[in-house]
């Protein structure tokens, strides 16, 4: 793909510009500004890996910055170990700290992760104070300045900082294009949906956290040698470190490697220059500038400059591509149901005696049924019947209090959603859970990663899935412009890309027009013809009566009836559940379908 090599060229261009600047600049002070730009861009990129890509906002990333600085400097001061090696020690300790911090905190959802990360730099500060490291000076090594990172020529610090920036850019780019990168972005957009697509979210977040701790530690070590000379807890674990990092990322834009570069290139020089020109008359001008810039960004480009500019450009180009597209028609005749009688098919999933309650409300009580290979099973029931709860139990989001789910004869009760997905059980959601910043193709690719495909193979199999549902020509747009029908088809494709043997579809027909229902039903039949077994939840029986081979009716958490659609809709208990006792008393259960003809 052209865009992929273009990104590498852009990285090379950034490094080239950095090189030119560091040789063009002559003043010592300007070198310092340049070093700071590179260092804060690196720090921003490090933060961006866990918070930008994976959406796990870390307010304590200075913990790793400080660890890098302290470990490197202490190793040099106490053991005379060169910082070039010491840095590696710093990275090692930082990555270990990431594991220790991540293990308990990644179990916390949303804002609580961020709040928990706030605590760690505070802890490290106290520990450093306690150990008596309130001030650690870098020992002067006049004989071997190069070996101890003590350059008298400031250009070398530029180059060193540029080097780690380049390495972090490359690391970020590799993450962006890897399975991990897609998985992280999927987790950021919707962790539950990602899990259901087979993404092991805990593992992915942990890897990302470790990868983002490493550059932060290196940046801390270089900062100590290039700028500080005396390391104090305040300077490396202090709140200003994370404020600078956040500012750089939020102004430039998180979730892309260009954001921190743009943010650092703008914010660092502006605040430094203001600080030296008017700083003596207006002390604290730096903080004011950061505050004002953040407010301006929040108001006019809340996603950051990169995304603002990008969406402006995309909006211009999309107008020419958008609109006019012939909708796929339901021309294909309804695929015939396989001639195998339902009873003769082998059992794929066996659901036995599932019960689940929420705060005393019995959502499911003793629900049993089986799903047979190759069938389309409809699960219907009025609102509140427990249908979605049932799916959540089947795909591992919820743990039932009683009962077992067997898959191909083995119990899958209590397994994680991503494990269940990898066993071959895919699902879609009632409220569509799409990843809005990924293209349609990339959305589907997240599903394809479930079975361990490389990005290239995932792309191929995802295009095939899009083709199956008739959405191949929408592959490269972002899903926000799609119609409800197209979104539902995309979700179906994403689910099919996980290579399931069984798909659980949660109200795939809700809110579609009559034509949309027809088309969706056609695609579901197509998926079945391709060898996928289907279980569908709906609250209206209409469409399912014609689509499903068998129906299971739930009402108030109980299985009310099961059987062929024609039989089920004539069951008195079903009529009662939908129309009430008194209707049943008036009309009785119809004996033949003819009774219902006008």
């Amino acid at each position: 793909m052209a865009s992929r090599s273009r990104e590498w060229l852009a990285i090379a261009a950034v490094v080239a510009v950095g090189l030119v600047l560091s040789f063009a600049v002559t003043e010592r002070y300007h070198h310092r500004v340049l070093t700071l730009v590179f260092l804060w861009a690196t720090m921003g990129l490090a933060w961006n890996i866990i918070s930008g890509y994976a959406g796990q906002i870390s307010f304590g990333h200075q913990a790793f910055f400080g660890i890098g600085a302290y470990v490197t400097v202490l190793l040099a001061a106490k053991l005379k170990i060169t910082p070039w090696l010491g840095m590696l020690g710093g990275v090692g300790v930082a990555v270990l700290a990431a594991v220790l911090i991540g293990t308990p905190t990644f179990r916390l959802a949303g804002i609580y992760f961020g709040l928990a990360t706030l605590a760690y730099p505070l802890i490290f500060r106290i520990v450093m104070d306690y150990l008596g490291y309130q001030e650690v000076a870098i020992p002067m090594m006049r004989e071997q300045p190069g070996l101890f990172m003590q350059f008298s020529e400031p250009r070398y610090f530029d180059l060193l900082a540029l080097g780690i920036l380049a390495a972090t850019l490359v690391l970020s780019r590799i993450i962006e294009t890897s399975r991990l990168g897609y998985s992280l972005r999927a987790i950021k957009e919707n962790e539950q949906a990602a899990e259901a697509m087979g993404v092991d979210s805990f593992r992915c977040k942990m890897i990302a956290y470790m990868l983002s701790a490493a550059p932060a530690a290196v940046a801390g070590a270089v900062y100590a040698h290039a700028i500080l000379f005396v390391v104090t807890p305040e300077a490396v674990f202090g709140v200003l470190v994370i404020v600078q990092t956040l500012t750089v990322c939020l102004v430039g834009g998180a979730g892309t490697l260009w954001g921190p570069i743009i943010g650092a290139a703008i914010m660092i020089p502006v605040s430094e220059i203001l600080d030296t020109t008017v700083g003596d008359r207006l002390p604290g001008i730096q903080g004011v500038v950061y505050g004002a810039a953040l407010m301006a960004v929040m108001m006019y480009a809340p996603e950051g400059l990169y995304w603002r500019v990008r969406s402006m450009i995309l909006a211009r180009t999309r107008r020419s591509v958008g609109a006019a597209r012939p909708a796929p028609t339901a021309a294909e005749v309804h695929a015939t149901t396989p001639a195998v009688p339902a009873g003769a098919r082998s059992v794929l999933m066996d659901v036995r005696g599932i019960s689940k309650s929420f705060l005393g409300l019995q959502a499911l009580s003793d629900v049993s049924f089986d799903v047979r290979e190759g069938e389309i099973l409809g699960i219907i029931g009025p609102n509140g019947a427990g249908k979605t709860t049932l799916f959540n139990v089947l795909n591992g989001f919820l743990l039932a209090e009683h009962g077992e789910v067997h898959w191909l004869g083995k119990s899958i009760t209590g397994l994680q959603p991503h494990v269940i997905c990898r066993l071959g059980i895919g699902r879609t959601f009632q409220v569509m859970r799409l990843f809005p910043h990924l293209t349609v193709l990339e959305n589907v690719m997240v599903g394809a990663f479930a079975h361990g495909a490389s990005p290239d193979r995932a792309r191929v199999s995802s295009l095939a899935a899009l083709d199956l549902v008739g959405l191949a020509d929408r592959a490269d747009v972002v899903p926000t412009g799609l119609t409800t029908l197209e979104l539902r088809l995309m979700e179906l494709a994403r689910c099919l890309a996980t290579r399931p043997r069984l798909i659980l579809l949660d109200e795939p027909l809700a809110g579609l027009s009559t034509d949309g229902v027809e088309l969706m039903a056609l695609m579901i039949r197509r998926a079945r013809a391709a060898g996928v077994t289907v279980a569908i939840i709906e609250h209206t029986i209409h469409a399912l009566v014609r689509l499903a081979d068998r129906l299971v009716v739930l009402d108030q958490g109980r299985r009310l009836a099961e059987g062929l659609p024609g039989e089920v809709t004539r069951t008195p208990a079903v009529i009662e559940a939908y129309l009430g006792t008194r209707w049943l008393a008036r009309h009785g259960a119809p004996q033949h379908a003819e009774d219902l003809r006008p």
């Binding site: 009025p382 809110g511 209206t540 029986i541 009566v545 659609p565 129309l579 209707w583 008036r586 219902l596």
Partner: protein, 235 residues
Amino acid sequence: MLKISGLSVSYGGLHALEDVSLEVAEGEFVTIVGPNGAGKTTLMKAVSGSIRGATGRLEFRGRDMTSLPAHQRAALGIAHVPEGRRIFSSLTVLENLELGSYRRAARAKRAEGLEAVLALFPVLRERRQQLAGSLSGGEQQMVALGRGLMAQPDLLLLDEPSQGLGPRVVEQTFETIDRIRKSRRLTILLVEQRVVEALELCDRGYVLETGRVALEGAHDALLADPRVQRAYLGV
């Protein structure tokens, strides 16, 4: 009194209502039944103005109100008792009821309106200083109904008043609606899932099925019509 023509509503591409037309005459009691997801609540919201972006035409007493915001429709005399009651649970019963008489025409008659509502629901008189959230489901429904009546409306929109109530309370609720109907000159548009109970009360009914009007007719004709069942069960 109320004339809806060609009303369509979609939520981000989801079609909730498609080309619905119906009429409610002055003093009439009209019921709309239909299964879950048929668009009943959306229809009520479109009439009261609590959702925007509907296409089609809404007329109230011959006046086009399609583009009027919700508070101006309320001022015309339309009161909406929403699904799920939506009472202010941290306010007292009395405060809830008084908030109903916000509309200028009702404010003047607040005292007598309150007296009438408390006469209709004696239990609310006993509990008037209690927090509304501490009431039972049936009593909360009374508060919601009473709040709607405090607005001295000419058209009362009732959205699933039986929802989430036990069988005996449901019966009482329908009896209350019948009493309200008989005690004052009021036009009522009721949305219900309980087919028989709702159709028995009303003059005329509509059956809504996946966003369209599937059937309409006098209440006894619909009660005897097996096609109603088809709207619910598909066959």
